[in-house]
Symmetry: C2
Subunit: 327 residues, 2 copies
């Protein structure tokens, strides 16, 4: 298996990306195609003692910068590492593509360069999130700010398959994010999606209120990208704000410092559970090949996990499963 | 000043409502008009040793139940304690109305029985939320699932006045909830609202991402009621889920129990800061008289705080300030 990697995407590129890729080669026995300046990649590897064994390089100089308009990946910036990687994926030069670069550009590029699965109306950015029970998936979290009921239904089909195939959940509970649990709640989008989803083959458990999301009361949560972005970023924000306060608890005086030592292992477990780096990346579902968005601030470990996710995506044949179920 | 109280709204009615009202009479020197079954109110007061001094009773038997369709408050259920209280408010039998009953019915009832301020397109349910800095206001959090740019602008006008007059914030920072900080982010609603808000007199500081809300990076956050509901309930849900985990931290073994004792005062402060009961209720802004929604699970203390909020609402003459600024 060969994973195509955008070596120049994300805040810590190229060093952490190359390091994470090298670790993935060692740990998972996978081949990597690094897309980016051959000169810089070789220098970086050399300076940091990183082996480039089982890694090829596609020499591309130009990088898609965060401040570029995502739409420009199709024309003006179709010669960037991200665009060229997506093109290589479309041309079967590898089995999956991973980038920590601009989310918007990756969604647009995946849609128009690698292209959607036939019958899929919109690609969705899907993310795994922690819950008090087990990890849950939410989609869309930002690819489509406005959606139609059919899109949400298709997101549900794809999320269901992903959580079943990759996370091993048996008959995942699929829910619609809404302002109330009753079927008559929400805007036209929720009302009509509810009907459509009620008739589907997946295990639709109805509406879920935002309050119940962190408690893992559904395994797959579907919503439009605007709502998903709000939910995801509230999750991050509240968790960070509370972590800051909990930290403050332990920094008050000498006794509270002792308290911190007494519960250190608990705090470490807690941090690990809340750490997005453990979850790998966010798959863009609905694309004809596996495309994974790694977190923009990915370090080597986080990027390696995103590659692991890409490998599962390929191995579990998620794409063919989606093709079969979308007809 | 006389506050009209729905004695039969909320999970803990009538006991906690009557108790909270009696406490408000003692603490704030206010008069109360209790709306509800005179017989039950007198029995409850008697059995629990609650003084009914400075409280009148408007004898109304019927209660607006949570499962009723909110719209029925206008006709079929216009003889309930909530509807009769709102009518008494419209008829100047009191200065403000407080209820812990159905939010939907209170919004509909306030709009069609007590009526909106002239020029206000939609009433908004506004809520105070904690932040790592100081309390912030968000509106709308559920009165209007779908909004137009002009509504959001009016919400901003009202939120600005409320935070200035009642919370004493100097030139509150007003922001629009959005998926990015740039002015070209979001759906048509956000794009057009951004323009409208940029030209307004209040201190518009631009878009705010959900991640920054718990850190208090704006004082007034405006959004449609669907988005507001998602944000508010994610706030509650994540805070509860994390509190559960932090509690778990301290319950592991003997040492962690000692740790809990060492940081007890810190934990108590933390709980107090996160406790909605400290914040009183959620005002329905845009109505011609002050209407306050107390939390459905209000106890006496929480309800007393909602009455305190109603008193400020009247004293600070928020309604006239809105009338002046909405022209």
């Amino acid at each position: 298996m060969k994973i195509i990697v955008d070596a120049f995407g994300g805040d810590n590129a190229p060093l952490e990306i190359i390091k994470g890729s090298a670790d993935a080669v060692k740990e998972y026995g996978v081949e990597i195609l690094l897309v980016g300046s051959e000169k810089i990649i070789k220098e970086t590897a050399n300076e940091n003692n990183i082996s480039l064994d089982n890694m090829e390089i596609m020499d591309v100089e130009k990088v898609f910068l965060m401040e570029y308009d995502p739409a420009t990946i199709i024309k003006q910036n179709n010669d960037t590492t991200m665009a060229m990687g997506l093109k290589a994926l479309a041309d079967n030069q590898g089995d999956a593509f991973v980038s920590a670069g601009s989310t918007g550009a990756l969604v647009v590029g995946a849609t128009f360069i690698t292209k959607r699965i036939k019958g899929i109306k919109r690609g969705a950015l899907a993310t795994l999130m922690p819950s008090t029970e087990k990890p849950i998936m939410m989609l869309d979290v930002g690819a489509n700010t406005e959606c139609k009921p059919e899109y949400l239904h298709q997101f549900a089909v794809m999320g269901d398959i992903y959580m079943n195939k990759i996370m091993g959940y048996d008959s995942p509970r699929v829910a619609l994010a809404n302002i109330g649990t009753e079927s008559n709640k929400g805007t036209d989008l929720q009302l009509e999606s509810y009907k459509l989803m009620s008739e589907a083959k997946y295990n639709f458990t109805g509406n879920i209120e935002a309050r119940d999301i962190p408690f893992g009361k559904a395994d797959v949560i579907v919503c439009d990208g605007f709502t998903g972005n709000m939910i995801l970023k509230m999750y991050e924000g509240v968790a960070l704000a509370m972590a800051k306060r909990v930290k403050g608890l332990f920094k008050r005086n000498f006794l509270s410092l002792i308290a911190a030592l007494l519960v250190k292992s608990g705090i470490d477990d807690f941090k690990k559970q809340m750490d997005y780096k453990e979850f790998g990346g966010a798959p863009i579902l609905g694309i004809s090949k596996p495309v994974i968005k790694a977190h923009g601030s990915s370090d080597a470990k986080s990027f390696k996990n995103a590659i692991r996710q890409a490998i599962s995506f390929v191995e579990k044949d998620v794409i063919n499963e989606i093709i079969t179920n979308i007809k």
